[in-house]
Amino acid sequence: MEIALKYLIVFLVGGTFSFIAQVVIDKTKVTPARVLVTYVCVGVFLSAIGVYTPLKEFANAGASVPLTGFGSLIAEGVRRAVDERGLIGALTGVFSLTSGGIAAAIVFGFLASLIFSSKPKR
């Protein structure tokens, strides 16, 4: 039962992030690219004011998989690095927690380009 509730929360929170973006894209003239940029920045901001970490504890992947989660990881990395090393941490911490995802996206993207070619659309 507890696990079902946990997954339900993941679904609802993750879905809500997508839902809001869809409303903005369809209702306003904001392009998808701008929505994504806004999302990561909002993630950094929410993490900075201490809202996002509790949300991640509550919703798990529902909060970490959307791009706001990516933003919050950046903020978290920066915070830890500043705590440890002072001001230079503002620069060194940016990718300390996110490099896994970025490196994976680059590597898998590159591998995909080695293996696949683009196809005509139907």
Binding site: V10, S18, V35, Y39, V44, N60, F70, G109
Partner: protein, 147 residues
């Protein structure tokens, strides 16, 4: 007809995107992708990974799946229905990179794939970095002032 009048006329009559359907699709597919992420997360935790690593590995798994689905030409069909449902999760970021990589390989691996991989995903990295650094500086100042 004046320019402004014409623009308003066009906007009035243009068929709007089916917003209710789009939102339902975005919500459910976005939620579903997070659930897949959670399954990975629980699985890696179950195998004894510590939480931060399990979470990173879960993201990496989603990125891998996205690159694969992009490569076999399935991802864009899902995204056509899902809209923001695939865009907002990390899958959108991974698709932007892998689709651009696959598409530009005809221009070579250095000037095509290498140079253009981040054409679409780049802004996300740039602005998240800038806001992250900005936050770091503010956070540092705060710690100096208040200890």
């Amino acid at each position: 007809m004046k320019k402004q009048e014409y623009i308003e006329y066009v906007e009035d009559r243009a068929k709007k995107s089916p917003i209710v359907k789009n939102c339902i699709c975005a919500f459910s597919i976005g939620g579903l992708i997070c659930i897949i992420g959670q399954i990975f997360l629980d699985l890696y935790s179950f195998w004894g990974l510590e939480k931060q690593d399990a979470s990173t590995l879960a993201s990496i798994s989603l990125i891998f799946l996205t690159a694969l689905l992009t490569g076999i030409g399935v991802f864009d069909n899902i995204a056509r229905v899902a809209g923001a449902g695939t865009l907002v999760p990390i899958t959108g970021f991974a698709n932007a990179i892998s689709s651009q990589a696959i598409d530009t390989k005809s221009e070579g691996y250095v000037l095509g794939v290498g140079a253009k991989m981040f054409t679409i995903a780049g802004p996300v990295l740039v602005f998240s970095t800038i806001s992250g650094v900005l936050y770091g500086v503010i956070y540092y100042i705060c710690t100096v002032i208040w200890g």
